[in-house]
Symmetry: C2
Subunit: 250 residues, 2 copies
């Protein structure tokens, strides 16, 4: 945990916050925090700042820590890449959500496609936003506070025919990860920076079927290669986001 | 499994190979292979080619498949990036080895550093090359046959003072992943391609300590940034290898 995250609603009007459970355990048992110590705190979808430890309590297994929060950086930036992901197995999705958030994405669209098992949508991970803890772990890791919006799309056709066209004007670039594409991101960029908001679509394990690729191309997605290697979804997502990050930098 | 791997020693002088267990199960139950069908086969550290199914046998749970192998591509290429990795937890290492191999690395040095738990070296994964199966999964995924050499270095000082200088002449570039570095790989490359053999060092969970960073710098490693985000080891390794791949392409 490189950043301790709190909800805006947890922060009292006197700028204090009282923590119990995982976060106070972490402060006491991992960081060895004592009154007067300062730790890095971020408000979800809000500022990053300093938390001064006011009080520390331990009663048996129960811990409680009170912090005084001083914001130091209000420049919350929405990451410039959004991700469409063919839904993967829950165990892979947990890990991937944390990794993707640590790299920085603004929105995550989890979609059904031909090679996605329907049962994946029944996973408890997708109920009641249970996936949220994995998003938060990504923010804690990368010291960011921008919590991506996650939406779940159980049917491919309405997603690609209705949702995507409605979003199209928000993006300057739309890329489709596709093993048989001719050009990689650097070749597509052609020596320039990839600027503006970008939407990246990565298929599920087993990839997209031809019909789905056609539908993405109709929506002006540009196919992107990762070289001659065929990568598993979890590797491809991290690899392409990392390459995009690099090409977006000035 | 995008490529079925066999050992050179399994291949008879008549170019046939007899498979049992996981591989014949896969051919019969996943691919539905029948005599006359052709599948993609690779010889570890050897050619890629076609395996024509000669016979298929099922007796209870036991399966056996005989293939006739015809090589089609002898251009085995050693990947141009080698990796030094601060040893991570066994569960993360398994996954990471598969991912790293699917992206293509020539050698993997698993090393001790200050923030590596000594107990990680006792893991059964590191005994008797038990990690080999995870390397093979990476090759099966990416359709490659180059099996990286893995070496294990339980002490940092002899590794950085003796092993690294002995290897130095093999590498044109040496990079050290470091969160506080100023420049990312694109800025370091400065618009040029990153050519030649490259050695990339990524720290364990918790990162390198200052003393270790100094030692790498003494050995002419160039610190590399991943932007302002702090990434977990598993994310950083995949991200940096993907960025290197991109900058190595013409």
């Amino acid at each position: 945990m490189n950043l301790l995250l709190i909800e805006a609603t947890e922060l009292g009007s006197d700028a204090t916050v009282s923590l119990k459970g995982r976060r106070s355990d972490h402060i006491i048992h991992i960081l060895g925090g004592k009154p007067g110590d300062r730790i890095r705190v971020g408000v979800i979808n809000g500022p990053v700042g300093t938390g001064e430890i006011l009080t520390v309590r331990e009663e048996g297994r129960n811990t409680e820590v009170e912090l005084y929060f001083t914001p130091t950086d209000n420049s919350l930036l929405q990451p410039s890449v959004d991700l469409i992901l063919g839904l993967v197995r829950p165990i892979m999705l947990k890990r991937l959500l944390t990794q993707v958030v640590s790299l920085g994405v603004g929105r995550i669209f989890l979609i059904r496609s031909n090679r996605v098992e329907k049962s994946f949508f029944e996973a408890s991970l997708l109920k009641d936003a249970n996936y949220r803890q994995y998003l938060l772990q990504g923010l804690e890791q990368s010291k960011d506070t921008y919590l991506p919006q996650v939406t779940i799309h159980e049917r491919f056709k309405p997603f690609i025919e209705d949702v995507v066209p409605g979003l199209a004007s928000r993006y300057r670039r739309k890329f489709l990860a596709h093993p048989t594409a001719d050009l990689d991101l650097k070749q597509i960029a052609g020596g320039s920076r990839i600027g503006g908001r970008t939407l990246l679509a990565v298929g599920p394990e087993g990839g997209w079927v031809d019909h789905e690729v056609e539908k993405f191309l109709e929506q002006s997605f540009v196919p992107v290669s990762m070289g001659r290697r065929v990568l598993r979804t979890d590797t491809a997502v991290v690899a392409l986001l990392a390459q995009l990050m690099l090409l977006q930098e000035k």
